[in-house]
């Protein structure tokens, strides 16, 4: 222990070279801080660009160009005995002819394309609802078709040569006339929420997808919530600590990290293949999502149960309650806010899942909203996927709009979870 030699040479702390070293060291620290701040800034910037580009490309889809016209419902075309089977295409053609008297028969086909394909059905529905219109004039606001909608929103560049443009000069001139006559309006695109999917962008909406997601999430919740809580309670409060329960726990942690597409394969092989459940049904999607959400709920519930202090349990046991009575009567109610928060977050994640739903067929082209969870349907994220692939210009904006709707739901759900947590969670 007596190894210490005589005093060592001291460092001269007033050395100016030392001061230079200090400056260099502080400069290095400053560079590290700048690098960190830049990285943080880069991450924020990317998020901002993501949201801004979606908003910029999608906001236009929230309005749809309409034209207000007088439709002449002559008895020639519509039989009062059977208004359903009237020749509404002729009605539209004749009404358009009234506005553009100079247009000949050959150009009439082109002219008719100004109005959406769905216009004839809208006129029909109005007449069927009120047959007294036959013989008179119906003033109706109908959507224009997608190329004209794009034109009105400024997406078509009038300076490009005509052969490269979607609309010819003459078609543009027709539209301008309608606009000058004040017949063009851009009201809120209700169809986006009230219509189901369609071949035509101006008529396409999210109703089917919204219902599909609703049913799928409902089924997911009904399955994963009780199963998840049951499993978590057993694992946390009652399970003996042995190899078997270890295996279950390891299993749950592994399931949480399995790629979502594998769950899709499972659903395809077992639910559709073996059980022969209907393809594209929201209820099958919900079952698949439930399997994926289960680990999340189990983990969140266990954490909430763990947070309840043992003193509560001991007090109840001391009063003679059985272990189950303690858990279900005392611990579980106290842990509920945390459990609900975790469940909402799990459901929010499930809402955004796409891959497994694609594999069970929820990407089919379905033009009506499902009436029950057992009918074929799409879901919001799969509908986004379908629209993203569609070539029409109108779908590009609608895809962004649909994404904004999805993000809106997610923000709401996450905010609800945060508020729930702030309001009800007690700090022991």
């Amino acid at each position: 222990m007596k190894d210490s030699p005589a005093s060592a040479p001291r460092v001269n702390w007033k050395d100016p070279q030392l001061a230079a070293t200090l400056r260099a060291r502080h400069a290095r620290e400053r560079r590290l801080k700048i690098l960190g701040l830049l990285s943080l800034g880069a991450a924020f910037a990317m998020l901002f660009i993501l949201l801004a580009s979606l908003a910029a490309s999608g906001y236009k889809a929230f309005v749809q160009t309409h034209v207000t016209m007088d439709f002449v419902i002559s008895a020639r075309n519509v039989n009062p005995e059977n208004p359903e089977k009237g020749k509404y295409r002729k009605v539209i053609a004749e009404s358009l002819q009234a506005v553009f008297p100079e247009v000949g028969r050959k150009e009439m086909r082109q002219l008719r394309k100004i109005l959406s394909n769905g216009a004839q059905y809208m006129v029909r529905d109005a007449v069927v609802a009120d047959p007294s219109l036959i013989g008179g004039v119906l003033r109706l606001t109908v959507p224009v078709s997608d190329p004209y909608d794009q034109l009105n929103k400024g997406e078509i560049d009038r300076t490009t040569p005509e052969s490269n443009r979607r609309l010819s000069d003459r078609e543009i001139a027709w539209f301008d006339r309608l606009k000058e006559a004040g017949m063009i309006s851009t009201p809120f695109n209700k169809a986006l929420f009230l219509n189901a999917d369609s071949r035509f962008p101006e008529l396409a909406g999210l109703k089917g997808a919204l219902w599909g997601s609703f049913y799928a999430l409902l089924v997911c919740f009904l399955l994963s919530f009780p199963l998840g809580i049951g499993a978590a309670i057993w694992l946390e409060e009652f399970a003996p600590k042995n190899r078997f329960t270890d295996i279950i726990e390891v299993n749950i942690n592994n399931l949480a990290a399995v790629p979502s597409v594998v769950f899709g394969l499972l659903a395809l092989a077992v639910f559709l293949g073996w059980f022969n459940l209907p393809r594209s049904a929201a209820f099958v999607g919900g079952m698949t999502l439930a399997l994926m959400t289960l680990p999340t709920i189990i983990i969140a519930t266990r954490a909430a149960l763990k947070a309840v202090p043992p003193s509560i349990r001991e007090a109840a046991l001391g009063l003679g309650a059985s272990r189950q009575q303690v858990v279900f009567g005392h611990v579980l109610p106290l842990a509920m806010p945390g459990i609900l928060t975790g469940t909402i977050i799990g459901l929010a994640q499930a809402l955004g899942e796409t891959a497994p739903l694609l594999l069970i067929g929820m990407n089919a082209f379905i033009t009506s909203a499902p009436e029950s969870a057992f009918e074929p349907a799409t879901a919001l994220p799969t509908q986004i996927f379908i629209w993203a692939d569609s070539p029409e210009r109108g779908f590009a904006a609608r895809t962004s709009a649909a994404i904004l709707v999805l993000l809106g739901f997610l923000i709401t759900m996450n905010l609800a979870a945060v508020i729930l947590r702030r309001k009800f969670e007690r700090k022991w």
């Binding site: 998020l47 592994n254 499972l266 289960l294 796409t354 694609l358 996927f385």
Partner: protein
Amino acid sequence: MLWLTFLIIVAAAALAYVLNLRAARRLWAEGARLHSITTFHALYALFLAALPAFVFVVLWLALSGPVIGALVLSGLPDEVRAGATAAQENLLLSEIRSLARGQAFGEPEPWKAAAAARLTALEATEGWARLALVSLIAAAGLIYARTRVSASFRARQRVERIINGLMVFCSLVAIFTTIGIVASLFVESMRFFARVPFFEFLFGTNWEPQIPIREDQVAGAGAFGWLPVLLGTMVITVVALVVALPIGLFSAIYLNEFASPRLRAVAKPVLEILAGVPTVVYGFFAVLVVAPALRQAGQALGVDVSPNTALAAGGTMGIMLIPFISSFTDDALSAVPRSLRDGSLALGATRGETVAKVLFPAAIPGIVGGVLLAVSRAIGETMIVVMAAGLIARMTINPLDSVTTVTVQIVTLLIGDTAFDNPKTLAAFALGMMLFLVTLGVNIVALRVVRKYRELYD
């Protein structure tokens, strides 16, 4: 019909509950000392009425489908059945099912129409039989439970045992799911490897799954070597890490060591938002913004960049992974004991030197665990690559090329109307099995690293 069945179960359960509750209450009012409080007697009845019936319905529904299918098939004329493979019989069955639902394409053959009628009849019978049996079972449970109401009956014990059993069942669902995944992947993969040799799949460098469905179709002969697909996955993962690692690491270092608590309180949730954006949104973003931006940048540099490069898909995936890396790094840095930080500062190190030379090296195992989990996420990621990456498999590591990944192939092989037995469909399952195994392996290693690291400091 199905909802009627469930309605009966619910009604029986409610009735049983009420009956037993009243009986138990009457006993109590008469002065008997009940072992268990009345609620438990009532619950006992509820469980006995509902549970066996419920289990019965689930089993019945699972089995009635295949049984009815077999019955219908056996009723078909012999010449139709002769020599038909299992796949053809399945196809026939689904056609007959569609017919029965009213979806007819043209004029069906008379034997098909007859089979459809038979199917409808069988299903009707099945519905009534189910209803009757369920009512019987529920009633039996209700009656039995009612007879058990007595002062000495240990209702609480019984009920708690039932609840315990239910909870164990819930816990086993996770095991069932894993077994289901492994079994379905394995079985279908085995059927695939019956047609395509395993080593050709594992080591083949040619992936062209377009095989002719009918004999007169002109298409490739079908090559199923997965190496180029695996390589594509790895290229995109590497690109994603190149984006996510520096940004994630340095952001975390800054937030952990240098940021004010206010900045931390704002920045952490914002980073979490990046993690919460659905991947289909990222995929669309890649197509809408990232790929065209890269294309323009490429044009400015004189390089021809195709629209679905690994760079676009991988870069977008990297953005998604930033919060993974940053939160794991932040947690790992916070887990380093304060004494190390104090020790370094007391020796005259700046905060930057402390972070770089002491805290970060000490946190590396935890960070590595986080990186591995991010890798696992990247490998299994589907929507970004389906929308932004390519479909042609190439043996290349150039990020400017268009590559395809395992997940893209799984999705494209299965979207569309191919029969279930087709080697294309089975190839998807083989790919799925490899994906599952690889991600499982990475996750196990990651968790082990993180656990060992936690032991170091606890």
